[in-house]
Symmetry: D2
Subunit: 308 residues, 4 copies
């Protein structure tokens, strides 16, 4: 047996203008376009070695088409498939190549309706650094120069069902949750992880199949300032930031891609382990959990209003 | 002859609750209270050596009572007094001790009605570091731990008159200005300096005698994050930030003291010299000049609405 | 089945002067002493929730007495025990309480002679932050304020044997290795991980049972400057730094505790996954791998000379 | 009257290989070459608006040929000339164009033998940013991307004579000095300023006409890490760093240009004013004053050994 689900491997997101999306993700975010078809563009960050972590799919509305989590071994995949079926999920096998450059895997829907895929292999491309005696960073990064994707946050009509599904069927662990009262264990929203980051996926209340945002990792706080400057230069609409999250302790800018998908550049946070006690946020303190600095601002209420 | 006006020496600000103000400036901002009377509290930052840089004066409304700029020599003071009179200002001499711990000086009003004082001496207290073999920072700083005040921004019904006054009578230099059109030389707003920072004082349109904010210096960008965290912990109302200024290139959080005086924690910016060509901002790009990240946000319009 | 080995749980280190060691780890490093006996002191960082991550043991010479890695579940522990025995290790069970505040577990020696323990439970103490609506950092941190331990680096006469042992018996993964030539797969030294950090343990050539250093995590680069300042104020002997590692891309200061144990404050580095291709460093470029800035300096040769 | 000497305007430095020097200052340091002759290259940083701040002069040995300080007005220049002559200096007038792109001025030697020039005008080139609605930083910076020069440090057989000269004839102010004993006022070394930085020029004991280093400003601490990485990539020999200075509180890397001139990248430090009390360092604590982190290291003794 291996390590199970290792990470958020890819996000397939709908975009309404493929060329505008390409310009944004390549020229502003600094990703590398590793492939392109008439209806899709494949992108990776400079510190990612698999073929892609984001797929832009031409569509008539923005939003999340599906997400893929990379699993360590085929034994893990088989075990997870078994557990999904036991849990009552409707699981489909997909074959190698059905997803461009991706090996075989399984597909299913979360209780919230979101399509999730598990897979073990993706064509190897390599980081933008050599594997032999590498310098600490590559030359010629463009714009924000985002090294990798980090997590995504989805909306669900009944978050608890999806949280339970992820934890029980797929061994996700919970780092933080929002509760009505301090002694409640019913998650109104939850942050879940498989890696040692505070979240690989989070679920908040909202419509089923909804995407609140997916996030890029940045290596440190100063990189947020650079990102904000780059966004301003390129007239990228900033939603909120620079802000501190109470939840995860991270630091952030939220912004929108040209199709209206909310994205985040995220840094900071603690190291999370499966035995870490869950941090709770009560609803009355939630504004501080979301935007620690500006928790008194009325515009925070609007933050959860826009999803795709 | 000496160096003329060296810096913004003190800000005398009205506060409606002296004890609440003390708690804020001492326990949140980390200033040292060097003296106290029934109606006033005197404060200095850890990296300041004069007796005070802020005076909190008990009053029934917030706002700026007056500001003091420190002059290098008494010859300079006499020369500046002469120039003020030549310029048509109504100048009053004040004697040593009339301002607590401050030597003799001159007092006058800017065309905008603000009271300004020039002085040469203030009682020496010393930094929070020893003068002999000092470590780079003092132990035991509280809260934000602001090292010093940096600048203030006032409002004027006719900014140009006050800008002219400061430049012509007092040898202030202009770093940046807002103009209607690129070829205009009429300042709608202006940033002026005597030190090598991009602004010791700035003037924007608004009511006469108005205070938009006075600012504390922080040594680097990360200190803004710490300040934001401290503000949140103490429920200090944040107005805007963390943001980048286009004007001055600085980085900022605006917030309010308990009486409603807007304050700023500011870092960054370039080194300014008297021969530096003035940077111009046209009105159509002004939002970016004020808040570079969030220049598309509607709430920027409200930013100049609140003054004291 | 759970997640196997989760992290480096504790380092038991010999110190020649217990009180001097306490002062250093508490007053300089900012750890909390959670317990004390006549011959040992137990310490944790502010962001750790288990009872201790460092044990200082009174001894007549410095060095590493043993290390403990925390395992997710008792099923994992049993499975790892089985694998260790299959691999030919001599494994001893220890009962709850045999290690102060630690549950039952297994003990064995690495091929390099170092004593390693695996355990599932340690008494819970909690972070220095509340679990309910926590602020992002605790008040009143002392000195360096190290949040947690990060990794350790041991020496072995035949590193490859210990590397194989850790990878094959305990499922450690390799992030980076030193090789003679680019096409060699024989590790002269290796960096191994179980968490998503570039190393939980590393092995370099040297005497068996030797300790090169154990490291504290710091949250960002600026914290290294603060650490350096604190070390200087307390006359802590700095070995090297501030430096950049080529290997792991991290940033560092090496220094010695009062008994002569080398410690490190470490930040940065990438996220590591089990499917990450191994980075290789050839011996001719190793100086850059160790100290990227000062790779031309002769004093780098001396760096591996001192171990305990 | 104007503001007197405003800043270190230019450093004319000897280089033994003009093309190697050009590559270093342009491709590693990121300066712009604004002009070139057979025997000289003129360079400016991206945040400088005058034609050049560094002149590389072909020579058979490294070192400082001369330095130029920019004066605010011609009245100031005349006044300074008069004071120099009163002080006993041998002053020569040079005409416009005698120094390429520089207006008329005066030339003299410091008591230490170094050639200094004062001038009022240099051809305007402009920053790498527009004067109208500028972004906070320019695109396409190369290597270190140094924005400007900051200061220089020279050696003198009798430092006090040169310190007195600079302070009495040219109105430099002292921020810090090295003394034998706490109550001594005889400067063994001194840091002097005309701007509000802790030093525009410093003088330490050594041979007359000697150059210890000249320094580039970097905007913040993280930029030192980037500089160190760039130096390593380009095999620039680092002398010392990353280090903290006790003196000035700045942070630093020292390194050598291809001809063996020591350079520094410097950031941090406090704001200095003419009325600031002088900080004293006693000889027994000087190592901490120079390199605060590694003050116990023997290699600090060697630091003052190499000058050009």
């Amino acid at each position: 047996m291996g390590e199970g689900i290792m990470r958020l491997g890819y996000v397939v997101t709908r975009v309404t203008d493929l060329e505008a999306a390409r310009k944004h993700y390549v020229e502003v975010m600094g990703m590398e376009a590793t492939d392109r078809t008439d209806s899709a563009i494949y992108l990776k960050g400079w510190d990612e070695y698999d073929h892609h972590s984001i797929v832009l799919k031409k569509a008539d509305r923005p939003g999340l088409e599906k997400m893929g989590f990379k699993v360590h071994t085929y034994d893990d995949l088989a075990e997870l498939e078994k557990r999904l079926i036991q849990y009552g999920a409707s699981v489909t096998r997909f074959s190698k190549g059905e997803n461009h450059k991706v090996g075989e895997g399984v597909r299913f829907r979360l209780p919230s309706g979101h399509v999730m895929e598990l897979y073990v292999e993706m064509e190897y491309v390599g980081k933008a650094l050599p594997q032999l005696n590498p310098p600490p960073w590559p030359e010629g990064l463009i714009g924000v120069g985002a090294p990798r994707i980090d997590h995504l946050l989805i909306t669900a009509e009944r978050p608890q069902e999806t949280v339970d599904f992820l934890m029980k069927a797929l061994n996700f662990y919970m780092s933080e949750m929002v509760v009505e009262k301090p002694d409640s264990d019913v998650p109104i929203a939850a942050w879940l992880f498989r890696s040692n980051t505070p979240h690989d996926i989070a679920i908040i209340p909202g419509k089923d199949e909804g995407l609140h945002h997916f996030a890029f990792w940045l290596d440190e706080f100063n990189d947020l300032r650079k990102a904000g400057d780059v966004f301003s230069k390129h007239d990228v609409p900033i939603d909120v930031g620079i802000e501190r999250h109470g939840i995860t302790r991270g630091q952030t800018i939220y912004y929108f891609d040209p199709s209206g998908n909310r994205n985040e550049v995220f840094t900071g946070g603690y190291i999370a382990y499966p035995d870490m006690p869950v941090v709770k946020w009560t609803v009355d303190q939630l504004a501080r959990g979301i935007f620690y600095f500006n928790h008194r601002q009325e515009w925070i209420e609007g933050f959860t209003g826009v999803t795709t």
